[in-house]
């Protein structure tokens, strides 16, 4: 080797090292600087199978943070939103959760959509003691001192759907559900409520989230001849079921009740013949008509455009989750996890778009209103109102005031 090539090699190596240094920079320890803003971390699916629900929740998050900052921030400090699009991938959920906790060092996490994603990231936040708000309606039962759930649970909604169905449609039920923890546990709740109401479940079928072709399923359902179909299908691909069901002419034959229908843009993108008559029960509908509901819808439309006619419970619960947290921070006078948790456990309540929302100290879930509705000509027709529904899913087994070390998800015994 000559001297020339030796120095060339050195130059190459140095250049490479410099390039590596530039790339590695962000991962190198930074000296801690006094962080003025309060950091709110968000993990939601803006794209992918859950994207239709996620994108509005992301907007609701931005809207809520914007409102807080417009009113002077929290404790005199601005709130900084650090949001990652998890692209409907659980892998990315765990990755970005670690990033939010260890690199961005956020003060609270608001996020998670599917129950699978929640269960994947919950241990990370438990270990690092990062406060976690889960704002999506789900199958209920999570009992964890570090976690606060603002979405509706089966005891607040599914029981009303089943009640209505047994009263108006008959006793034989066919259940179809998404094949992951939400679908399985919700199906268990449906079975329990059906049996308690004197009905019977003919069959329960599960479908992974990427299934789009339901023709054989529709044939199976017809063969079983049930009085109704109860659906816990989730995500953009499962929406195909409702389309295929209508196309097969089943709408007039067998009625359908669904726990996750209309939370995305179903009413705006599907025609009335497909959506009419499907019974749902959520904590919010965009045409509730109350002053708070209207103010929320108008505010979101002002920021994101008049096409936002499909706001639902996922978006208002996201908003309410952030506002509840903000209230607790004000009450605690600090963003420290332990202090905020204590503040939340005094029973904070806010006036949200869906009405009064109160955090129940023992269960860490919300006491909120529920409404039974069905689409009619692509607009929600509210049939019944259930005020101040208590999250009684665990039947008192979850009491984080008495037993603060509890950390599990209770499931229904069927």
């Amino acid at each position: 080797m000559t001297m020339e090539s030796g120095s060339r090699r050195k130059a190459l190596k140095f250049g490479a090292a410099a390039a590596v240094g530039a790339l590695v920079g962000p991962y190198v320890t930074r000296s801690a600087s006094a962080a003025e803003p309060i950091k709110l971390g968000s993990l939601l699916d803006g794209t992918g199978a859950l994207g239709i629900e996620g994108r509005r929740m992301i907007q609701a998050t931005e809207f809520a943070v914007g409102q807080i900052n417009d009113h002077g921030g929290l404790l005199g400090r601005p709130v900084k939103l650090i949001a990652y699009d998890t692209q409907s991938s659980i892998q990315l959920y765990t990755q970005y959760a670690q990033q939010l906790v260890f690199q961005d060092k956020v003060d609270v996490i608001q996020g998670g959509i599917t129950s699978a994603s929640r269960e994947a990231i919950r241990p990370i936040f438990d270990r690092s003691k990062t406060l976690f708000f889960y704002n999506t309606q789900y199958e209920g039962g999570v009992c964890d001192r570090n976690v606060f759930c603002t979405g509706t649970t089966p005891a607040q909604t599914v029981d009303h759907i089943v009640e209505y169905a047994l009263k108006n449609w008959g006793k034989k039920v066919y259940i179809i559900a998404a094949d992951y923890n939400y679908g399985h546990i919700t199906a268990s709740w449906m079975t329990k409520f059906v049996k308690d109401g004197g009905g019977s479940v003919v069959s329960t079928d599960f479908f992974p989230l990427d299934v789009t072709n339901f023709s054989s399923t529709i044939s199976r359902i017809q063969e079983a001849k049930p009085d109704m179909v109860l659906s816990a299908l989730v995500g953009a691909n499962h929406v195909g079921f409702y389309r295929q069901w209508a196309a097969a002419g089943m709408k007039s034959k067998i009625p359908v009740g669904a726990t996750v229908f209309g939370l995305g843009d179903e009413l705006t993108t599907m025609d009335a013949a497909t959506t009419d008559g499907i019974i749902t029960c959520f904590g919010f509908y965009n045409n509730l008509g109350t002053p708070n509901a209207n103010a929320f819808v108008k505010g979101m439309q002002a920021k994101y455009g008049p096409s936002l006619t499909d706001l639902g419970e996922l978006d208002t619960a996201t908003y309410e989750g952030i506002m509840l947290w903000a209230e607790a921070v004000k009450k605690a006078g600090s963003v420290e996890q332990a202090k905020v948790v204590t503040a939340l456990e005094t029973g904070i309540s806010i006036e949200g778009p869906s009405g009064t929302v109160k955090m129940d100290p023992a269960t860490h879930h919300t006491i909120r209103n529920a409404y039974l509705a069905r689409p009619k000509n692509r607009v929600w027709e509210i049939l019944q109102t259930f005020p101040n529904q208590f999250p009684s899913d665990t039947g008192g087994a979850c009491d984080l005031i008495k037993s603060p070390r509890t950390n599990k998800q209770f499931m229904p015994q069927v």
Partner: protein, 350 residues
């Protein structure tokens, strides 16, 4: 002479890697160490694909199958046995067993190379769909609930032998991951320098000639396939420990696509190429997800097409040939022979 030279290069790589292994925890933050561990895991996976494809000439399009089997085996074994060393060993052994069966099915059936690609791809899709359907609580192996789409959370991380209740911290896991990478690299280098390795390469270059000399290509392909699966299984175990979580997405097409792209841009027919390529692609994916200018798939697609058109041999062989041209001692780039897929493929076009 050539053997000495290539082992000289390998020694440099190993020494550099050991330096990196000790330097990283000193230089990077805890989060940085965690990211580095992920890079090490994908690098091991890249090695597996690089060996099977670049040296054995097996176009495995579903190497993610073995990554996933390794990861799930580790998770299930660790939860059930409580002994993470045993779990790690099983994570290497079980994919090898599966590869032996699948390899026997494919190679002894004289299936052509393109078909090998499609069959391995299909097998990984089947595994994905199978694992995705195991959400009910009735699907469990011992104490480990398979979880379906939900995945298996709370996987016990590596613990030192004899101290199962003191799992390694992030830095400890990094050491294990990086050592696994170094050992895998060393093992493959040694294998390739051995007689076995040279027969494997000969078969890749001209199967008929190797057969006529008296070697059974099916056996050598099968063994290479099995070795590759074992390394992928090791990557799976590291991956499972890194995340503490595993889900069916590890079997997805995107996982196989990612490693193939990594090998391609790193350099087919080298070992260091896939390592660097895997790290680069993982870094790109991380960055792509957090920025909002360009859609991640679009960016990756452009990168892939650009590389296939402009730098089909990959970065490392190109860089090597630059270095060779810059230095006065010439060195024949090995990349050319490595790149051409089976010439026999062109003959069979009719």
């Amino acid at each position: 002479m050539k053997l000495l030279r290539s082992s000289g290069g390998a020694q440099t790589v190993v020494i550099l890697s050991i330096i990196v292994m000790f330097a990283v925890p000193k230089v990077l933050s805890e989060f940085g160490v965690m990211q580095a561990t992920l890079f090490a895991a994908v690098a091991i996976f890249g090695l597996s694909q690089g060996f099977v494809w670049g040296y054995a000439g097996i176009m495995s399009f579903g190497q993610a199958a073995f990554l996933g089997i390794g990861a799930y085996t580790y998770a299930i074994a660790a939860i059930n046995l409580g002994n993470t060393q045993m779990a790690a060993l099983l994570a290497i052994a079980v994919p090898m067993l599966f590869a032996a069966l699948l390899g026997y099915f494919m190679f002894y059936g004289r299936i052509s190379d393109a078909y090998v690609g499609v069959i391995t791809l299909t097998v990984s899709v089947i595994l994905f769909e199978l694992m995705n359907s195991t959400s009910g609580s009735q699907y469990h192996i011992g104490d480990a609930v398979l979880g379906g789409f939900n995945g298996i959370p709370a996987i016990p991380p590596f613990a030192p032998p004899g101290k199962p209740d003191e799992p390694l911290d992030q830095i400890g896991v990094w050491y294990v991951a990086m050592s696994t990478l170094i050992v895998a690299y060393g093992f493959l280098k040694w294998t390739l320098a051995s007689r076995f390795g040279r027969v494997v390469v000969a078969i890749r270059e001209n199967e008929t000639r190797a057969m006529l000399i008296g070697y059974d290509p099916r056996l050598y392909k099968l063994l290479s396939f099995v070795i590759g699966a074992g390394i992928a299984g090791a990557a799976g175990a590291v991956f499972a420990t890194w995340g503490g979580f595993i889900s069916p997405t590890v079997f997805a097409l995107t996982m196989s696509a990612q490693v193939i792209i990594s090998v391609l841009i790193g350099g087919l027919g080298t070992l260091i190429g896939p390592i660097l390529g895997a790290v680069a692609i993982q870094y790109l994916i991380n960055v792509a997800g957090t920025q909002h200018t360009i859609d991640p798939s679009l960016g990756l697609g452009i990168v892939l097409v650009a590389f296939v058109l402009l730098v089909p041999q990959g970065v490392v062989p190109v860089v090597r040939s630059w270095i060779a041209r810059l230095s006065s001692t010439s060195r024949t780039p090995r990349a050319k022979t490595a790149k051409t897929p089976n010439a026999s493929e062109q003959e069979s076009r009719s």
